[in-house]
């Protein structure tokens, strides 16, 4: 790989502004990496992302698969000696990456989250059955987990008729749009320059 050029601190400031977390404070102790259960699947361990953010390597960071593979277990956050909520930074990077139009490393994850939120938006709560059905359709595997679904249904652990509590459209409006309306941030804003 080509040597990353240390650029301005703009990207660092952007990530910090969005997350309110002091990414610059990291002293590269490696604790986040050695505690993270997902690091073997990540192109960059959390601290490597942090270093790249410090160097301004926006492109590399936002196209990394790391934050897509984060399971939000908060192990890194509670063990960081510099008190950085790393998990939250991972969330931030995922959001920024989508906003800037980088293709997600786990598209199914994006789909799932969008559908999940759509359920919530429409009825205030999540119906697992509905969510799974829509997800399978979206992934074009309508019959996956059929056996499981049947088993759960049989055991009375699925609610067939979702209850609609309230529509949460107003709350969602400023943040995420429904998948049917198309993604709120479409395409790449401002291109790939850093």
């Amino acid at each position: 790989m080509e040597a990353p050029l240390a650029r301005s601190l703009e990207f660092l400031k952007q990530v910090e502004a969005h997350s309110s977390e002091p990414v610059r404070r990291c002293y590269q102790c490696d604790r986040c990496a050695t505690g993270c259960p997902m690091v073997p699947y990540m192109q960059h361990a959390p601290n490597e992302l942090f270093r790249l953010i410090q160097l301004g390597a926006k492109e590399t960071v936002l196209s990394s698969n790391a934050f897509w593979f984060c399971v939000s277990c908060y192990t890194c956050s509670v063990r960081c000696p510099n008190d950085i909520d790393i998990t939250h930074v991972m969330d931030t990077l995922r959001e920024l990456s989508l906003r800037e139009g980088f293709p997600p490393a786990l598209p199914q994850a994006r789909d799932f989250h969008e559908l999940f939120l759509d359920c919530v938006r429409r009825s205030g709560r999540v119906s697992e059955l509905e969510l799974m059905a829509r997800y399978n359709l979206k992934r074009r595997k309508p019959f996956s987990r059929l056996a499981l679904g049947w088993e759960l249904l049989r055991k009375g652990r699925l609610e067939l008729w979702p209850r609609r509590v309230i529509s949460l459209h107003e709350i969602f409006a400023p943040f995420v749009s429904s998948p049917s309306e198309g993604r709120k941030v479409e395409g790449r804003k401002g291109g790939r320059s850093q």
Partner: protein, 1012 residues
């Protein structure tokens, strides 16, 4: 303020810091109350096995000091005591103490342990404080074998008598000395003192609070203090490294650094010692058991002190200690084996899982709770980390006048730094109380010494030590036997030889029977010889006409299973003792007058502080500076911790030094010649007014260290490449620095030739970076480093720099940064170890941290003073741990950069310490020379110069006759010269060849007993 000043001092805390301060003060004419919370002095150091960087035995170093404090006529040790209040002003304080009962009368207890053996608790059941819970003790116990005061103590928390009132008190019955006293009660009392030194030390960080490492839940996770006990030969496993879970010898041992330190969840500062003690423990473990494979997990390896780097090198190269720069998130215990699973990243960046048999947590240092309580009671302020608040310029002064602080109480530090601070605090007290010096100490008066005439008349006292000796050895038979030995005119059995009534009886017998030699067969001479010597001196005998035979520790206690043979051995030992006694000669001790003046070489910060301390203590001081100005160096030094006003300090210091009636400043002056020895040096100064000869009792070397001027990284070839000092100068005086992007490179040209860490450049870089950002917050600063040396509270500064946006990039020693020019643009590449990838930076300015080199002039000075330099050209101290500012040559002291690099507060403490140590000599007025020293028989000397070469202390000189002669004041009595002299011309007092040979003869051939 009243004019009255008390010549007594209270030292609170009996760790190495308190002990050193006590000894320094007691030796320079002050009476000291040493107040210790626990039942014995020694502090944390007593619990250590070996100590870095030399890895010599902690107890070997400490124990002689403990004994010295224990029998010092000017020291009173008050154990189990805490301070309740302090009233009054500097010079005239009243300190109120609360002393808990010990339930044992220390003047009677002889530490025989009978009470312990007979306690109703058959087995030791309660966790031993000394063994950090790994060993067990009973409700009555002796804190540790070398404890001072050496006496039993009852812990009322666990003793049945105190808990329920129903105990047969077997202990009480077992004690033959009637030393136990369960009626003792708490005592509240006050003392008048002129000043107070607080040295309450530290506490290890509670590893339980770092839950992810499972300490307290996982059997095989230990803390470093526990591991020290495991390594200690006198520890719970007798020095065998064994796993607590199954008692098996571990193979793979992991050390985890920074446990509780450098961590905002715990303590934000660096604990400054754990990097080194972990390396030490890894080496020692390996030495104990070769099969052990130690691995150290760390963030930065902070090997910044004198000799540290070479210890780490040895660990790596000779002992195969594996270092992994990766921090551990958590430990998982394997259920079946109780092994510990650790995940770390290897050099290639992959996460690995590895099982270890034992894990040692390098826990940090935190201020002791007792110390914080003390601070509250005395109304002194603590800093934000709850250590004592001090200032950069007065590192041993608390916020209350007349109250000084020292050691780990002022911040995390190792033993040498603690000892330096202790001597510094003692020096500050000595200066404060100078008028009262000697008012509270008393010189003991002895009768005129009788000159032994004619044949030996030996008295032998065979001790029972209750049943300690008599229970095994037939002491009566031994005494009877002694009577048959040639030269013995008196032999008797004594129940307790060391008891006050017997000492009196001994004096009477000496006078009555006109004894001229005394032999005591009892316990170890290491504890009581001085007491008996003093006794015979009171009876008019020369104290060297005494021999002590150890029939307790080295006979009855080790051969209790074979009483008959033990008796035989006791007889042999007494026979040998008597044989030696027959040959003993009185040795004389002469007094040498001390020239009450000091010579301080070097007029920098260190030299000025040293001179002021001495002058304030009332001694005339010559401050010699080779350049035209005092403390030139400081003009380049802008950024010092927390932005204190250095230039202001400089001005003030200069003024005080220049106007002090006791200081003579000699600028543009060098030393041409130094001759003489401790107490009586004579030097020729060469200055602008020509040459001048001065007489002085001590020398303080306070010469400087320079910033190294590099050859690499375009330095000198491009104006955009500067050293840190040059940047510092540019920041204060030069035109505004314009650069936007700045790269700082650390450890420049630190290589095989200059393998040591210069200690200050990391901090200097951080401070300069912060200063650059203060001018323009939009700058980008990259610091390329190998290890960030921001130990102790400097860690906060390091964090501040990161929070301000300075980016720190680590690179390996093997892949140094490259600086090149591409069409006038400077380009720096460095391999970031974390990214495992090259990073490219295009700076407008490159700043080099080049480290410190000693003054080349040191070599000449070293020749003049006849004191050695180390391989790097720094001066060598007498003992890196316990005599860090003394030279091997008596009367010469070291401070300043030329001894070792340091920050301003460290150098100030060192300068005060050197001055304090020097003042001890000056304060005496007279020095005692002689006693156990070597002397040359001029008739036999063939001038082969062997002794001259071999004497480690430079005590031998060649006299006008061309023959060897020994300077009694300098001789330390090691006997190396005597053993090496091919002509057998040298004899060491008290250990003469004839004495030793007689012992050998008599050991084997009692029948051949020479008819003397």
């Amino acid at each position: 303020m009243s004019e009255l000043k008390h010549g007594a001092v209270a030292v609170v805390g009996g760790g190495i810091g308190g002990i050193q301060a006590t000894l320094d003060l007691a030796d320079s004419g002050f009476y000291v109350y040493l107040i210790e919370e626990g039942p014995a002095i020694g502090g944390r150091m007593a619990q250590l096995d070996k100590t870095f960087p030399t890895n010599d035995c902690a107890m070997c170093m400490l124990s002689p000091k403990l004994v010295e404090v224990g029998r010092h006529p000017n020291v009173q040790i008050i154990t189990l005591a805490s301070v309740e209040a302090l009233e009054g002003q500097p010079g005239n304080f009243r300190i109120t103490l609360r002393q808990r009962p010990r339930y044992v009368d220390i003047t009677r207890c002889i530490a025989c342990g009978r009470c312990i053996a007979s306690c109703v608790y058959q087995d030791a059941k309660f966790p031993s404080e000394f063994d950090v819970g790994l060993g067990k003790r009973k409700p009555i116990y002796i804190p540790f074998p070398q404890a001072v005061p050496l006496a039993a103590v009852v812990d009322p928390q666990t003793c049945i008598f105190f808990k329920s009132g129903r105990c047969p008190q077997n202990c009480l019955q077992a004690c033959e000395r009637g030393a136990l006293d369960f009626t003792q009660t708490e005592r509240l009392f006050s003392l008048d003192v002129g000043a107070v030194i607080l040295a309450p030390g530290f506490e290890p960080y509670d590893a339980r609070l770092v839950g992810e490492y499972g300490f307290g839940r996982y059997a095989n996770v230990l803390t470093a203090p526990q591991f020290e006990r495991l390594l200690s030969a006198s520890g719970p496993t007798m020095g065998k490294v064994l796993r607590p879970s199954d008692g098996k010898a571990p193979k793979k041992v992991a050390f985890i650094h920074c446990v509780g330190s450098r961590d905002l969840r715990h303590q934000s500062y660096c604990s400054a010692v754990c990097c080194m003690y972990a390396t030490k423990e890894a080496i020692v473990a390996k030495e104990h058991d070769h099969a052990i494979e130690p691995t150290i997990f760390y963030i930065d390896l902070r090997a910044y002190g004198k000799g540290f780097e070479s210890l780490v090198k040895r660990a790596r190269e000779e002992h195969g200690v594996r270092y992994v720069r990766s921090m551990i998130s958590q430990i998982i215990e394997i259920p079946e084996t109780k092994n510990l699973l650790i995940r770390y990243r290897d050099d290639s960046g992959s996460v690995r899982e590895e099982e270890f048999d034992l894990v040692v947590l390098a826990v940090g240092m935190r201020p002791s709770t007792k110390g914080q309580e003390l601070a509250r009671k005395l109304s002194i302020e603590l800093n934000q980390h709850s250590f004592a608040q001090t200032s950069v310029f007065s590192p041993v002064m608390s916020t209350r006048e007349g109250v000084f602080v020292t050691g780990a109480f002022t911040g995390p530090k190792d033993i040498p730094e603690t000892v330096i601070q202790a001597s510094a605090a003692a020096a500050a007290v000595a200066a404060l109380l100078a008028p009262a010096r000697g008012t509270r100490t008393q010189a003991k008066q002895y009768p005129e010494e009788l000159v032994p005439d004619g044949s030996p008349r030996i008295g032998v006292f065979v001790c029972h030590c209750g049943s300690n000796i008599a229970g095994v050895v037939d002491v009566k038979a031994v005494a009877e036997y002694a009577k048959t030995l040639p030269g013995v005119v008196h032999a008797e059995n004594v129940l307790y030889t060391c008891s006050q009534d017997n000492l009196k009886h001994m004096k009477d017998v000496i006078r009555e029977k006109k004894l001229n030699r005394v032999v005591v067969a009892s316990c170890t001479p290491r504890n009581l010889a001085a007491l008996f010597q003093d006794t015979i001196r009171e009876a008019g005998l020369n104290k060297f006409l005494f021999e002590m035979v150890n029939i307790r520790e080295q006979c009855s206690w080790v051969h209790s299973d074979q009483p008959e043979r033990a008796t035989e051995k006791a007889k042999s030992l007494v026979r040998m003792g008597v044989a030696k006694a027959r040959e003993l000669k009185p040795l004389s001790v002469q007094s040498v007058r001390v020239a009450p003046a000091a010579l301080v070489l070097g007029g920098g910060l260190s030299g000025m502080v040293a001179a002021l301390t001495l002058a304030d203590s009332g001694f005339e001081t010559h401050l010699v500076e080779k350049s035209s100005e005092l403390w030139r160096d400081l003009q380049e030094l802008v950024c010092i911790p927390e932005g204190e006003d250095v230039q202001g300090l400089r001005a003030k210091l200069l003024r005080t030094v220049r106007t002090h009636p006791q200081i003579r400043v000699h600028t543009n002056t060098t030393v041409k010649e130094i001759s003489g020895f401790v107490g009586n040096f004579s030097s020729v100064l060469r200055g602008p007014q020509g040459e001048e000869r001065i007489q002085h009792g001590v020398v303080i070397v306070a010469t400087e260290a320079y910033e190294h001027k590099p050859n690499e990284y375009l330095y000198g070839a491009d104006a955009r490449v500067l050293t840190q000092r040059e940047l510092g100068r540019a920041l204060t005086e030069g035109p505004r620095v314009r650069a936007k992007t700045i790269v700082m490179i650390q450890c420049v040209e630190r290589n095989e030739k200059r393998p040591y860490c210069s200690r200050i450049c990391c901090a200097e870089a951080i401070k300069n970076a912060l200063a650059l950002l203060q001018q323009d917050p939009n700058r980008q600063i990259y610091v390329l480093y190998r290890e960030m040396i921001s130990y102790s509270f400097l860690e906060d500064l390091y964090r501040r720099a990161r929070d301000s946006g300075v980016i720190f990039i680590h690179h390996d020693e093997q892949s140094l940064p490259v600086v090149r020019k591409e069409n006038e643009q400077i380009v720096v590449t460095v391999r970031d170890t974390r990214l495992r990838q090259e990073v490219l930076i295009k700076p407008d300015l490159v700043v080099l941290s080049t480290g410190v080199v000693p003054d080349p002039y040191n070599e000449e000075l070293s020749r003049l003073l006849k004191v050695p330099l180390d391989a790097q050209g720094f001066f060598v101290e007498a003992h890196i741990k316990l005599r860090p500012v003394d030279c091997t040559s008596h009367g010469i002291f070291l401070c300043g950069g030329s001894h070792a690099p340091g920050t301003i507060p460290e150098l100030i403490a060192k300068a005060q310490a050197a001055a304090g140590r020097a003042a001890i000599i000056l304060s005496k007025g007279q020095l005692e020379a002689g006693g156990i020293v070597a002397s040359v028989d001029q008739e036999k000397c063939t001038a082969c110069l062997t002794c001259l070469r071999e004497c480690p202390f430079g005590a031998v000189f060649i006299n006008e006759q061309g023959l060897a002669e020994i300077e009694a004041v300098k001789c330390q009595g090691c006997g190396i010269c005597a053993a090496d002299c091919p002509a057998k011309a040298i004899q060491l007092g008290q250990f003469e060849d004839i004495q030793e040979l007689r012992m050998l003869e008599e050991l084997f051939h009692p029948e051949r007993m020479s008819a003397v």
